[in-house]
């Protein structure tokens, strides 16, 4: 652990010593202090301004991937080629296409670790994604329960809710392993 470079996002802090009888206002105060912190790698909630079309159109065949996981040029590339969408024709009417693209671009990644997703862009190819999943054994990616690296929900039991915390890992063999 100590040999590893620091993770790309702040991790959950070392457990604090908690007073035995913590009262609700104290918890509230602590929450207020914690909430404005920058987003963490394992919490990628759907931005509040997501148009309903985003989940409806992008969340049917796969998880409605968090827009924070690809850069704006990559999202534009994805949205410019929906008629050849990873082997499927996922064409949309132009109004919906623009609406979703604008949303994705608004919340797109700006960090270089999230660039370099390839062509066609795959968020599973970014340096960030590969680093986050470096401890996942090859065999698990090929496991019948997983099928595809894009199948976030196969391992991340609360992926639909935008939560990717280690303790929520759905496959028992992953829970034993220290996964981040």
């Amino acid at each position: 652990m100590s040999a590893c470079p620091p993770p790309p996002f702040p991790r959950k802090g070392v457990t604090m010593v908690q007073p035995r009888r913590m009262r609700l206002p104290v918890i509230g105060l602590l929450l207020a202090l914690v909430l404005p912190l920058p987003a963490r790698a394992d919490r990628l909630p759907l931005p509040a301004d997501a148009p309903p079309s985003f989940k409806a159109e992008c969340g049917s065949c796969h998880l409605a991937f968090p827009p924070q996981l690809l850069t704006a040029p990559d999202w534009r590339r994805v949205m410019a080629g929906l008629d050849r969408h990873y082997g499927d024709n996922a064409s949309l009417d132009e109004k919906t296409r623009r609406e979703i693209e604008a949303f994705l671009v608004r919340h797109a990644a700006t960090r270089s670790r999230l660039a370099g997703a390839g062509d066609p862009p795959r968020l599973t190819q970014t340096e960030w994604f590969r680093r986050e999943h470096r401890k996942v054994p090859d065999a698990l990616w090929r496991d019948a329960r997983v099928s595809s690296a894009a199948n976030c929900g196969a391992c991340h039991g609360r992926a639909e809710a935008g939560s990717f915390r280690g303790r929520e890992l759905a496959l028992p063999e992953l829970r034993k392993r220290k996964h981040d």
């Binding site: 796969h62 082997g87 024709n89 329960r145 997983v146 099928s147 595809s148 894009a150």
Partner: protein, 133 residues
Amino acid sequence: MKQVLLVLSLASGLAAAASPQELGAAYAAEAARQAPGFQPSARRGAEFYARRFAVSEKMPACSACHSESPLQPGRHAVTGKAIKPLAPRAEAARFSDPAKVEKWFRRNCTEVVGRECSAAEKADFILFASAAL
């Protein structure tokens, strides 16, 4: 009159709420205009559901993603994402939104069957999925 309205809403892509029975009847009415005397058949729908079109390698048949039975949950053959059952008995929201139903018939028929489905095929399909026990 109701059926005419439904067909109109289907044609114009309006998302009017409907029941599987109303939607199926609207498709059946459209099919009957093309072939007088058409009656939807759950048996034909079942055959269609199970048929291997083999147009798409990964999605050779409806069952490739939707499982062997419309009452069972399915799984996307490429992404692995869970798919809720097709039967309204198992998943109440199925076949209740004409625009959504049209969209998925268009997309999935093109992918799996290699062409758009006819009104007759859609009427049979909805009857089969709705009648599934």
